[in-house]
């Protein structure tokens, strides 16, 4: 039988290798936040005949929008972002902007969409997003502890599932932080939606493995806890892979062919499903063993920058 649990520290190492760069990026650059989290104006403009990006930028600057961010998004479409929110109520300003572009660039400007967000809402959105993730974590912790109430130390199962879940959140947020400065990817309300779905999926996957451990343990005769966990992981392996594969097929199709609006949303889910499957097989159940064997000392000493302290202590 393949010894899955014996390799647990290698799995933790792999997780660390993926998460640490993300955390560094997160603490240095943070996340590049989009329109849902920043106050300001965002619009998609279509020009015919076509114009180039520098022209649009300099014209906007002439019109008094010196801080305008212009981004070419294919065909003759441009996304324009302004720090002001005055276009929301002052309709003449919006018309002046379009007319100004028309005359100065000698083209016809079509405003395909416009969104304006005031500072009050932007701050609330960010706050609500954080609350939502925390409430989800607590809710899931409680539910799992309830579902495993007949097991000894039910809170332990919930905690391990939530740690695996936080692992997945960190992987996705870290990757998006890197994508933020590397590729200009912004996060929006949909990102939060994707994030919460990942949270749900991660736990969904973990529970299936936990359920098996519970069943095998209560049946008895499986030997040590490590052996029980190991055989449970192996028994659920086909299911974990098959389910992830089917979900990944669907997501890949959405990612490649779906509309631009949900492009990064599906990317969040793609990354999340992969890390969610990985963490339920390679982290969550393994943490149960670390806890059961009380290996936290080893766990801590294994983390490089904490090793010295642990040895000294």
């Amino acid at each position: 039988m393949f010894d899955f649990v014996g390799k647990r520290y290698w799995f933790f190492l792999l997780s660390a290798l993926i998460i640490i760069p993300g955390i560094i990026s997160l603490s240095v650059f943070g996340l590049k936040t989009g329109i849902d989290f920043n106050s300001g104006t965002s619009m998609t403009l279509h020009f015919s005949p076509s114009v180039d990006e520098t022209q649009v930028r300099s014209t906007l600057s002439n019109l008094g929008y010196k801080d305008a961010i212009v981004q070419h998004t294919g065909a003759d479409d441009f996304i324009v972002r302004l720090a002001t929110t005055e276009l929301i109520t002052d309709q003449t300003k919006n018309q002046q902007l379009i007319n100004g572009l028309n005359t100065q660039l000698n083209t016809t400007t079509e405003q395909k969409d416009l969104s304006v967000l005031s500072a009050a809402i932007a701050a609330q959105t960010a706050r609500n997003a954080v609350i939502a993730v925390i409430v989800a974590a607590v809710g899931i912790l409680l539910y799992i502890s309830f579902a495993f109430r007949k097991m000894p130390k039910p809170l332990r199962w919930g905690t391990c599932a939530v740690i695996a879940m936080i692992h997945d959140v960190l992987v996705v947020v870290g990757i998006f932080s890197i994508l933020g400065w590397a590729a200009g990817v912004e996060i929006d309300a949909l990102f939060i939606t994707g994030m919460l779905t990942v949270v749900g999926y991660s736990v969904h996957d973990t529970i299936v493995v936990f359920d098996r451990i519970r069943e095998n343990q209560s049946r008895g005769g499986g030997g040590s806890f490590e052996n029980v966990v190991n055989s449970s992981i192996l028994q659920t392996m086909t299911r974990s892979l098959n389910t992830s594969l089917t979900v990944l097929f669907v997501l890949l199709a959405l990612f490649v062919l779906g509309g631009a609006t949900i492009h990064y949303f599906t990317l969040v889910l793609l990354i999340g499903v992969i890390t969610g499957t990985y963490s339920s097989v390679c982290n969550a159940s393994q943490l149960l063993i670390v806890w059961e064997n009380n290996e936290w000392g080893r766990f801590v000493s294994w983390i490089p920058f904490l090793r010295k302290k642990a040895v000294e202590g």
């Binding site: 109520t89 967000l117 979900v247 669907v250």
Partner: protein
Amino acid sequence: MKRDSYFLVFILILLGLALWAILPTNSTRLGRNGFQLGLDLKGGTHLVYQADLSQKDPSLTDAQALAAVKATIERRANASGVTEPLIQTQGSDRIVVELPGIKDVDAAINLIGTTALLQIMVKHYDTSGNAILDANGNPWFVATAMGSDGVTHELTGKYLKPNAQVVLNQTTNQPEVSFEWNTEGAVLFKQITSDNKGKLLAIFLDQTNIETATVQDVISDRGVINGLKLKDAQNLVIQLNSGSLIVPLTVIQRTDVDATLGADSLTKSLTAGAIGIGIVILFMIFYYGLPGVIAATALLIYSALVLAVYKLIPVTLTLPGIAGFIISVGMAVDANVLIFERLREELRAGRTLHRAVDEGFRRAWPSIRDSNISTFITCIILYWFGNTFGAFMVKGFALTLFIGVAISMFSAVLITRTFISQLIGGGMVKGLSIHEVKNNV
């Protein structure tokens, strides 16, 4: 198996009902015109208004004031001819307005968000006949008169009958707004016109003078406002008839979506979804053989049921909502995978086909239940999150995923099981175990 035959009939009836409800997709059955599409798919504008409740009448609670504002906005939006406007209160002091398919957003913002407080103003004169000015040098004062209850009232738009209309002046051929006072308004107006006979009287709308006239005669029940452009006159009529907003509103969020962009996204996502589901079906059949065919059939029935529920509730479909549906298909497959893997194990353990099916379902159930409940928890939190800050996309996703997962539990347990039992019971399948063993070499 008698029980399974009943289930089979039940499933077929359910499928029939579902298909009847959803096909053809643009049918008007059950009083609805096709699926209800969100703003991101059909285009339109999404507005969030902040109400300044500090200016409300102190006798009203915040909730009452907001509800009154919402009702006024609803009347205005409906009167403006927008199809299916959606107006919701959000939090304690905000109102979300969604206007699908609208072209002139600026005009709509104007129409909906203007206070539209109509006041009758008069000038007061000192003994030497000069107009008295207030502290700001303004000669106009709100006209007051004794009401039938013996108390002095200001004459404002709240005494109007909701039947103002745009008429063309017979002589000038210019548009005018004609309005009529209600009984109490007529009492007040009669008194004001008789007090001010031969003097100037003005109509102010939101502190702006829109009409000034000399009182020729004592009038009680009606009046006109002229000198307006046709468009403005039409807006004013809607505003007068819907009543003024009791607190001022400001737009704090505005999102316009281009209709063509939405249609494009819809086609793309549906294509992607169809291809994704196709791959899943092929995978299931290829990997699990006959049970895979059953799972695929169950999946198609599942899709029909989910779509029917979307239509019946009705769920407003948004792009993320469609993504939620497609992801729920993946989760529906998961339940089948769990069951089949269990079935396989039981067969490997040497059980008969019948026993293996029973055991497989029984043992897979706790996993299906617990894992799906955790998804429900996430969906509920997402829905709350979407609702609190008016993100219709987030709400749509949470709702479709919730419905999808709920029906997937039903589908895995009832549909897949009934089909498998029917096949075994009918003696059509004896080779399930052979296939399983072959696959496990």
